[in-house]
Symmetry: C2
Subunit: 323 residues, 2 copies
């Protein structure tokens, strides 16, 4: 029941995932709505289950309110399935703040992996080099040790999920030189340098876009601003180009001929292509998709969750944090 | 002696400015180099002076080192001219950190306007709506009162320089809802709301790009990340489009026909078009240009400095801060 157009894309994506991965997908939410959406799909031979949840969380719900007033939400019910071992992972395209808040609570969600100070939300940036940014908004205010752990968890994630040996880890700052940045950055740098990670120091946004680091560490406020600025300017440029191209018949013809190239760039920058954002540091696999996810993006997020289970990401983080 | 290719663009821009504005331009730096660059220009009837400075600051110089080791730099000498009333404003395309550091010092630079806690570096974003972002990197670590003053100074700047009555002021955050953001943002919001400014609350990067606010307030770390991310992704998209268009003869032909449209978007996003970044809160007009400034950008920055003097920006900020 998570995506902006739920439950259609969520259910259609689950059906795609059940077919492609030959796994059982449990759909959590309003039974009547899910059944209606399923009836539109060909589910022959697929393993799909429905688990009812009495409440659903909408995008405008405040996370703190969800915890108080919606104990039977599809987020709660889905996370409980993971906690009880009835599901291997939880995927949602829903209210990110609510998923984060519920997942982090030990009682109703999954709680943290022992030793993890703050779970971090990671995201694979939809640019050619596919760098991983962590934290992307779970923690606005951070301490240096949180950033150290984001680096560690991000490195383990990229190593296991993408088979990158010794991923390069950078710290997002407003200058490459050591000593550039906030007090937080200046304290986190030496911790990362002494961590045994393949730490390359401060990186600026342009190095991030160039793929200088496989893992870019940021506090959740800065990380979220970087991601949202990138999305906003990409949209701005696409709109500006379209307007300028359409403003004159010759450029309009050129635009028509060049359309496949625009399409390829758009596809390259499409967040649907890279799946969802893993919430690293909680005691279970949780993947959060974009609210705008279509069925394909949901399927990709399920695939990502499946791989994270197969690669024992949670166990790897638990072992890495313990060291 | 400021720009990456100094002194050619700086001198050529000064000549353009002297001609267009019919003002005296004082060139500060290495006399021999400046004279050689001037010899290539037609300066007939223009009022140009040279004031020698024994040292010049390069991009890799650390601001703290410049203060200690280069007391006769062109930055020091130029700022002293303003302090002594021999020049009305200082323009540099040089090492931003060094200009900031020297300008803020009362002894060797200009010092702060009484009551200003921290000068802020403003920048007009080169997008259609031309929003003003402050602080763009002068202060990585900020207190809520600094953000309040950035809002006030930015609002006065946009009101006077662009004749915008009651500019809308927003606070850059990772969510529009009140209560989103770091502890700093949560404390600065109420101060701005009570300030008498036309405060519209938190804005996300997409609202910033849409021109929701005329003035976007940020701590220098976040503001700098937003600007550098926008620059990096714009460059990334331009490169990706060029590569995709060239990859096939049909799209390549389309790209050729659409070229003027690309050119117009590039011009729209060209930082050279919007002049330099004003350092607001110091006791004099200081405009800092991009290191990549060409002659036209230098001329624009001089024009901006001239307008700031004419509009009594320093006096307006002094009066506004006093209230």
């Amino acid at each position: 029941m998570g995506s902006d157009n739920n439950p259609e894309p969520d259910v259609a994506g689950a059906v795609m995932a059940a077919r492609e991965f030959e796994e059982t997908i449990i759909l959590v939410g309003d039974k009547t709505q899910i059944e209606a959406a399923l009836a539109k799909q060909d589910t022959t031979g697929l393993s799909l289950e429905i688990v009812a949840a009495g409440q659903s969380v909408i995008m405008t719900d405040k996370p703190s309110e969800v915890i108080k007033t919606k104990p039977d939400s599809s987020i709660h019910v889905g996370l409980q399935l993971v906690k009880n071992g009835e599901a291997a992972a939880f995927v949602s395209a829903g209210n990110t703040g609510a998923v984060l808040a519920v997942a982090m609570l030990r009682q109703v969600g999954l709680g943290r992996i022992p030793g993890v100070k703050r779970p971090g939300l990671g995201v694979i940036f939809p640019i050619k080099e596919r760098p991983f940014l962590i934290d992307n908004g779970a923690n606005a205010d951070c301490k240096p040790e949180y950033l150290l752990q984001f680096g560690l968890m991000g490195s383990l994630y990229m190593e296991r999920m993408l088979n990158i040996a010794s991923p390069r880890v950078g710290l997002i700052s407003n200058g490459e030189e050591e000593g550039k940045g906030t007090a937080l950055i200046k304290e986190a740098g030496p911790l990362l340098a002494a961590s045994g990670l393949n730490y390359i120091g401060n990186i600026e946004p342009k190095e991030f876009m160039n793929g200088a680091a496989h893992v870019a560490v940021a506090d959740g406020f800065s990380g979220n601003l970087v991601m949202k600025t990138a999305e906003a300017i990409a949209r701005y440029m696409a709109d500006a180009l379209r307007d300028e191209i359409k403003s004159n018949p010759v450029t309009a013809l050129g635009g028509l001929l060049a359309k496949p190239a625009f399409g390829r760039v758009r596809k390259q920058l499409d967040p649907n292509e890279v799946g969802g954002a893993p919430l690293l540091g909680v005691n279970g696999v949780v993947i959060i998709g974009h609210g705008r996810s279509n069925a394909y993006a949901i399927k990709q997020a399920v695939g990502q969750a499946r791989l994270a289970v197969e690669k024992n990401i949670v166990e790897a983080i638990a072992a890495g944090i313990k060291q």
